[in-house]
């Protein structure tokens, strides 16, 4: 347990010292907020059922953060650590492999939440965004979405031969999701035909759930989202556990 806590704390500190990782989790969503906020503002819009574009963007960009962490940060860092022999060094200690993974998941979850809090603080400061849901439900949606995206991240990390390849694969998967899942821009502005593709992207379900929980909708209205994410956690997480490589 002491190992788990210390490893999580140390990894968290490292994350903050890594300028690129910190930029994508913290600065990038903030930049999106400022950019799209200056274009659309936060006036109530019939397209979003009377909510403003920035209100809707809060859960969307939260989805963006968890996509970035899961599909870029985790694969690049994990594959890099494997390539350099950092994982080997940890393996030479009595720490159980599961402890390492748990600490890594925890670190990334923490990072996602910190990024999200920063985003929400800016959204509130600049556009007085409204949160209409329950904090616990929203956090539960964040955790569920994270675990699903992170599983995919660990699979990419293990299948890619090195950090560079992990980055390429992560980006190839991430970019369509950025534009088509509703994370980067509201799904409502996409044409109907494009939205069909969205249905195949796992991040779409995470974003959809986050939006629901942001506006205080019932979990029962989002059973499909929860089911897709849960299946992903079990299946993709299972694959990740099978294919995980220390060296």
């Amino acid at each position: 347990m002491r190992g788990f806590t210390n490893l999580t704390m140390a990894s968290f500190k490292l994350y903050l010292r890594e300028p690129i990782a910190a930029f994508f989790t913290m600065a990038f969503p903030a930049l999106m907020l400022i950019l799209f906020g200056s274009i659309y503002g936060n006036e109530p819009s019939p397209m979003f059922g009377g909510h403003g574009t920035m209100d809707v963007s809060m859960p969307n960009y939260t989805g963006l953060i968890l996509g970035t962490v899961g599909l870029l940060s985790i694969p690049i860092t994990t594959a890099g650590y494997r390539e350099l022999g950092v994982l080997r060094r940890f393996r030479a200690t009595p720490m159980r492999p599961l402890t390492y993974i748990a600490a890594d998941v925890c670190t990334n979850l923490l990072m996602t939440i910190v990024g999200m809090l920063l985003l929400l603080a800016m959204g509130w400061a600049l556009y007085r965004v409204q949160f209409e849901g329950r904090i616990v439900s929203y956090l539960a949606a964040v955790v569920l979405g994270c675990l699903a995206m992170f599983s995919l991240g660990y699979v990419i990390a293990s299948l890619a031969p090195g950090a560079r390849m992990a980055q390429v694969v992560g980006m190839v998967i991430f970019y369509p999701m950025l534009f088509l899942s509703g994370a980067g821009m509201p799904i409502e502005i996409l044409p109907e035909s494009v939205r069909k593709i969205s249905a195949f992207l796992p991040l779409t379900y995470a974003v959809n759930l986050l939006r629901g929980m942001w506006f205080g909708e019932a979990w029962s209205a989002h059973l499909k989202d929860v089911a897709v994410l849960a299946v992903m956690i079990v299946v993709v997480g299972g694959v990740a556990a099978r294919v995980f490589r220390w060296e």
Binding site: N6, L14, G85, V86, R89, A92, P94, M95, R96
Partner: protein, 304 residues
């Protein structure tokens, strides 16, 4: 003397390549045991099987009375490992690394004492990426010692270090031994093995071709030593060739090289010179090294 490591009939193949092909040896408590041989001889594979990081295809390995695979956790608490290829996150600081790794063990040394002992005190807050090769290696030794291990593994400890850093690593190993810890190391520097190890196993193509104390290895093979000196005047016709133990005398001008072997080789030559009142100067002896042993065992030079 109790036995700390016992390896019997170890085999490990990577595809068609037999990396380790029937290796057996034991390491006794408190000794520095070295595995030497060229790159690809099977040293690292062997040591990693003993550490429990690699699964052997066949053979029996026991370390501190434990099975390295099935008792990995328990064994990992009691051993220290310096890996040939390993690294730490670039932005992790020295002090943080030691504190973190210390927290993964039940028994630990104080990180401050460790950096002190390893001469890294002023690097406590330095990120790993900013360390020199020698400092990095010290840090990895510190990590290997953080749990006060009974047995320490050092895999290619000084590869890539400059001669000065290498010497200071040797001092460290001697210190570790003085603390009563057993050391199992691999190296492809014969000189390193000769200076550090109580016993040496020479590996080639996955097999142990010789195993003994370094001096004994050198002596047992009857590899010749050389005595080199200078005489005033003509060096030909010195009455040395007929001495017991002398194999060959080379003379060119004032310079003489006597080839021979045996315990009394040097003293015989020197007394013969004195008995014949031949003045000599700049005498030095060139002892055969493990390098010569390897050459005579395998017919090949050790290449670095």
């Amino acid at each position: 003397m109790s036995i700390v490591v016992e390896v019997e009939g170890l085999h490990k193949a990577y595809g068609p390549v037999r990396a380790v092909d029937g290796v057996s040896f034991t390491v006794e408590q408190g000794e520095v045991f070295g595995m030497v041989g060229p790159n690809g001889a099977g040293k690292t594979t062997t040591i990693e099987c003993v550490e429990g990081l690699r699964r052997a295809d066949a053979g029996r390995v026991q370390v501190l009375g434990l099975d390295p695979r099935s008792d990995r956790q328990a064994l990992a608490e009691r051993i220290g490992i310096q890996l040939q290829q390993a690294s730490l996150p670039a932005r992790l600081r020295v002090g943080e690394a030691l504190t973190l790794f210390g927290s993964l063990y039940q028994k630990t040394s104080s990180p401050r004492d460790l950096v002190e002992r390893l001469g890294l005190s002023d690097k406590w807050s330095a990120p790993v990426a900013k360390l020199s090769g020698g400092q990095r290696q010290r840090l990895f030794i510190a990590l290997a010692l953080v749990n006060q291990p009974e047995l320490v593994f050092l895999d290619e400890l000084t590869t890539g270090l400059d001669p000065q850093a290498r010497r200071s690593m040797w001092d460290l190993v001697r210190e570790v031994r003085q603390q009563g810890r057993t050391v199992l190391l691999t190296t492809h520097f014969m000189e390193e093995a000769e200076r550090l190890c109580d016993r040496v196993a020479i590996l080639d193509h996955g097999k142990i071709v010789a195993l003994d104390r370094p001096e004994a290895l050198v002596r047992s093979l009857g590899v010749e030593s050389r005595i080199v000196f200078t005489v005033a005047g003509d060096a030909r016709d010195l009455p040395l060739a007929s001495l017991a133990g002398v194999q060959r005398v080379e003379a060119s001008g004032e310079r003489v090289i006597v080839h021979g072997s045996g315990d009394q080789f040097v003293s015989r030559v020197v007394s013969a010179l004195e008995a014949n009142r031949i003045a000599f100067r700049d005498l030095r002896t060139e002892q055969p090294t493990l390098e010569d042993v390897f050459l005579s065992l395998t017919g090949r030079e050790m290449r670095e």
